[in-house]
């Protein structure tokens, strides 16, 4: 703890050095591009890859073959796979770019040539998918083969896709208290933006910068006359496990009182050396007897636990 400030200073120094170096090297890295590469046209590709070609006709990407603006008229295949002249001569897989077999960053570079400057990717830097090298083609089958669609739309199909990697998360949805994803009423993208978001865990936002949860739970949005601080400061996940729980209301504890008492602990915090500030909400306002069933669920009385419009103790 004592070294926190030193750590911060050192990290910032390193950051500055890295940035200066990066800018310098970047300027020097403007490599020359290939000139007039030998393209053959999509019709040539069709001769051998007819199944893919036919499926591609139903894909939204087919527009690349006909759209003058993009500069790839009749060359849609090569817009992603690169010039195919050599490949048509050797018929070797080595002589053509296959985004499914190259590195994620190289595959993404192909996609982002057209798609970078779209609002979808504005949170890309914050996206754990980008950091963990999950490439675009990991989720979007570009040729839309085998009945799969380029952009999955139905909740069941979206959930299946996400669950194929996020196995732990899907397991949590099997617990009795869960959002209705296994039932097909919701999908992962209702709450998460797979392309990145300013919020933790890539969660969606509502009305610009409110938490995405209030998009469906509008009665929890406020603003309230008397706010419950953790709802604002740390979000719904302070008390709820949104993927699924064995506890009622997807709470993080088996009974409500423990959720409350862990913060409202009656124990003032003693600052330690190097620590800043105190912690919020540690002292309860009264001396309830928790041995009485009357007081064992705090929200019986403090029912407006997400924030109250009329009562500072959240009683109504």
């Amino acid at each position: 703890m004592r070294n926190t400030n030193e750590l911060t200073k050192m990290a910032r120094l390193i950051q500055t050095v890295v940035w200066m170096g990066a800018a310098g090297m970047g300027m020097a890295h403007l490599a020359a591009q290939d000139v007039a590469p030998p393209y053959v046209g999509s019709q040539v590709c069709q001769a051998c890859h007819e199944d893919i070609y036919n499926a591609f006709q139903k894909s939204p990407h087919h527009v690349v073959d006909s759209d003058q603006k993009r500069g790839w008229v009749n060359k849609a295949c090569e817009s992603c796979h690169g010039p195919a002249q050599k490949h048509t001569e050797t018929v070797s897989a080595e002589d053509i770019r296959n985004p499914a077999k190259i590195t994620a960053v190289a595959a993404d570079k192909v996609c982002l040539t057209c798609h970078l400057n779209q609002p979808t990717h504005v949170g890309r830097i914050e996206s754990s998918h980008a950091r963990d090298q999950v490439s675009c083609v990991g989720c979007h089958p570009v040729h839309a083969e085998s009945g799969q669609k380029l952009v999955t739309r139905t909740p069941v199909a979206i959930n299946e896709k996400c669950a194929s990697c996020h196995v732990n998360v899907w397991a949590a949805f099997q617990k009795p208290a869960h959002h209705k994803l296994p039932e097909g009423a919701m999908s992962c993208v209702d709450c998460h933006n797979p392309h990145g978001s300013i919020s933790n865990a890539m969660t969606q936002t509502f009305a610009a910068n409110d938490r995405g949860c209030v998009g469906c739970h509008g009665d929890k949005r406020g603003p309230f006359t008397f706010e419950h601080a953790p709802v604002r400061f740390e979000g719904c996940g302070s008390c709820h496990e949104p993927h699924g729980s064995v506890n009622p209301r997807m709470l993080i504890r088996q009974e409500v009182r423990f959720v409350c008492l862990e913060c409202h602990a009656n124990l003032p915090t003693v600052p330690v050396a190097g620590a800043v500030g105190g912690v919020v909400g540690v002292v309860p306002p009264s001396f309830h007897n928790l041995n009485s069933p009357r007081y064992q669920n705090c929200t019986v009385c403090h029912q407006k636990i997400h924030g109250s419009y009329v009562d500072r103790s959240l009683l109504k």
């Binding site: 090297m25 950091r131 610009a208 006359t225 008492l261 409202h264 602990a265 009264s286 109504k316």
Partner: protein, 679 residues
């Protein structure tokens, strides 16, 4: 009615867009493209194959899809129906199980392509409807509607009267939440794209809540209604080297909850206070909340040079609320602060609140070398809320007691984070990542009262980041991710403080027909500050497989197994005697899912359509602080009857049990049968 309204609205939009489209533009490029490209000389083989099948492309509207309808029987719920309804809530009756249609118009008269999907209608807990229509480079219209039952009545959740033999969740509700979402993009695919959208979220229903007075609280019926409408519109400029989105939007909100009771109500306290039993004879309370907000959103991305990508966002919103509340109650009531009994009370409260909220973020990806990428991002989020309230309470005492108050409260939260990461491609198979995040913020909350209560907190956190992606060959991918954090200040006792987080994932295609995935996460969090001593550990491990020999021609199997363990330990002082206590929570869960699908040879009347039989289900076994078991086996069959008609049938069982709350267990069988018509 709502689905009809949505469809009607979409039809109007579609009509408007068609009317605006000049006749000269009618042949859409996408529709024309196949016809243009087919005769190209470079593909003679393909021409020979495709020509006989479709010598003249159809110009008629084509419809494809299916509709599935049937009837479900529920055998009755053994055990707690309230818990069953809280977790499952499927009932008997005729059902529209699903419908999915795609309309394609080669002439692009009104649209190129439109789809309509509807699932689970007919008094079902989760009904969904989706419709969309698009015309290339002219419009893209999407609409979603969901009607979701929001029922929660768990006997053990909030039942202070259980010891008296009364099973009543005093915080229960039976709502329907209806969600509508319509968006229209105009000129999609162009560099200038205006768009409009409308969203509405509403909830209405009944429930039970407590009317809280001094000395007693009374469970009373309540009606709940809230609705939020969001209107937004903007423009997107999508150019080769940059993109800008500018959006303005606003919301309206209303909340009209009422509480009422006309019968004598003894409340939760039966013990007399100073010899007098408290009770409620009659009460009503009404909330009238009206809110609105306006917001601004600005987004941009740019790649000014080949080695640099930039990203930024600016978001500002200012929600506010106007509050009117009144209640009246009669009975044997008590004012603790003045040791005063009285027979009736009236309360009137007016309040207002606002919460301006600004968020900004900026990021850059720099590629100084072929193998090196640097990701830098910065984020700030600021909320500064203020509210005031004027209340007046009149108690029927002799003489009349009047309690008036003028209160003001505030809430401020400033949060910022800066992060830098460096990714290095060691070779084509291995990428390493390392970085650092610094998080800082401050927050304070002022809540007025007899003692002005001010809570202040500061947040300071250093986080080291690391990760790798290893792809030795394209059928195997391993990724790992680690965060190690050290904090010197957090907002809450249970916040992340000194933590270590590790995630690892792997995907392996053993053979073409067999895929395996493994997933591991671990989180350790300690806050050793005196008076807190928080210690939490969580880990999850899962494995899943998908096995479909011969592309699933005869059978396929998918299954998963997961284990999760959570242990949390933090101390507190019991409020009644300030004795030290520990809140110790553990959850040790095993979860498994499996689904075996078999395609049996086609029946003689439909030789090309196999009979499909599926069996499997899931279970959860949890031990720890709330030992629970939950079984959901299922079996399905689909048998083709004649061309385009299939008989579908399903059996499901739900069995739920709790070791501590035996009266919350339930079990039931559901049998559904119906027909699927395919076009």
């Amino acid at each position: 009615m709502k689905p009809l309204v949505v469809l009607f609205g979409m039809a109007i939009f579609t009509g408007v867009m068609t009317a605006q489209n000049p006749p000269a533009q009618a042949p859409a490029p996408t529709a024309a493209a196949p016809a243009d490209t087919t005769p190209a000389p470079a593909a003679p083989a393909a021409e020979e194959k495709s020509a006989p099948a479709s010598p003249v492309p159809s110009t008629e509207l084509s419809v494809s899809g299916s509709v599935e309808a049937g009837y479900r029987w529920q055998t009755g719920v053994g055990g707690s129906e309230a818990t069953y309804r809280s977790f499952v809530n499927l009932g008997s009756g005729p059902k529209l199980l699903g419908a999915d249609f795609t309309f394609t118009d080669p002439k692009s008269r009104w649209f190129d392509r439109a789809t309509v999907r509807a699932y689970s209608w007919g008094d079902e807990p989760y009904g969904t409807l989706h419709a969309d229509a698009s015309k290339s480079r002219v419009y893209d219209l999407r609409g979603d509607y969901r009607d979701i039952t929001y029922y929660n009545n768990l006997p053990s959740y909030a039942d202070p009267l259980l010891s008296r033999g009364i099973v009543l969740d005093e915080q229960s509700f039976d709502l329907r939440r209806k969600l509508t979402n319509i968006s229209l993009d105009i000129l999609p695919g162009n560099w200038f794209i205006p768009y409009l959208a409308f969203e509405r979220d509403s909830g209405a229903g009944t429930g039970v809540t407590a009317f809280v007075t001094n000395g007693n609280e009374y469970p009373v019926p309540t009606t709940l209604y809230d609705a939020t409408a969001l209107y937004r519109g903007g423009v997107r400029f999508e150019l080769r080297h940059f993109h800008v989105t500018l959006e303005e939007g606003g919301t309206t909100y209303k909340n009209d909850q009422t509480l009422y009771d006309t019968q004598k109500n003894a409340g939760n306290v039966s013990t007399p206070v100073l010899g007098q039993t408290l009770s409620l004879s009659n009460m009503m309370a009404a909330y009238g909340i009206r809110g609105s907000s306006a917001y601004t959103k600005g987004l941009f991305t740019a790649n000014p040079v080949s080695w640099l990508d930039l990203y930024g966002q600016f978001l500002y919103s200012q929600p506010n609320a106007d509050v009117h509340y009144q209640d009246s109650a009669t009975g044997s009531l008590y004012l603790q602060s003045q040791v005063l009994f009285y027979t009736s009370q009236q309360t009137l409260i007016n309040a207002a609140a606002k919460l301006p909220h600004t968020t900004g973020s900026f990021g850059a990806e720099v590629r100084p070398l072929k193998r090196v990428r640097i990701l830098e991002s910065w984020l700030t989020d600021r909320m500064h809320g203020a509210s005031s309230q004027m209340s007046n309470q009149v108690l029927n005492t002799t003489p009349t007691t009047q309690i008036a108050a003028l209160l003001a409260s505030s809430l401020v939260a400033n949060y910022s984070q800066q992060e830098i990461q460096l990714l290095f491609d060691v070779n084509k198979k291995l990428t390493l990542r390392g970085g650092y995040r610094y998080v800082w913020g401050d927050a304070n909350s002022v809540v007025p009262g007899g003692l002005q209560m001010v809570s202040q907190g500061e947040l300071r956190r250093n986080v080291g980041l690391g990760g790798l992606v290893f792809r030795p060959w394209h059928k195997l991918t391993l990724s790992g991710d680690a965060e190690v954090a050290s904090s010197s200040g957090v907002y809450f006792r249970t916040s992340l403080y000194n933590y270590q987080k590790v995630r690892a994932k792997g995907r392996y295609q053993v053979v073409n027909s067999l895929n395996l995935a493994v997933d591991f996460t671990m989180l350790n969090n300690q806050n050793p500050s005196p008076g807190i001593n928080f210690d939490a550990k969580a880990n999850q491990e899962s494995i899943s497989l998908f096995w479909a020999p011969g592309a699933g021609k005869h059978w396929e199997l998918q299954g998963s197994y997961g284990h999760s363990y959570l242990r949390s330990n933090i101390g507190y002082l019991a409020p009644q005697d300030l004795s030290p206590q520990a809140s110790l929570y553990t959850d040790n869960s095993h979860t498994a899912t499996a689904l075996l699908t078999m395609n049996l040879p086609g029946v003689k009347w439909a030789p090309h359509s196999p009979v499909k039989v599926t069996a499997g289900g899931s279970f959860v076994l949890s031990s720890g602080s709330r030992p629970t078991s939950y079984y959901q086996p299922e079996a399905k069959a689909s048998v083709p009857l004649v061309k385009n008609v299939t008989w579908v049938s399903e059996w499901r069982y739900y069995g739920y049990g709790e070791a501590f709350y035996l009266y919350e267990g339930f079990r039931t069988h559901l049998v559904t049968t119906g027909l699927r018509f395919t076009r």
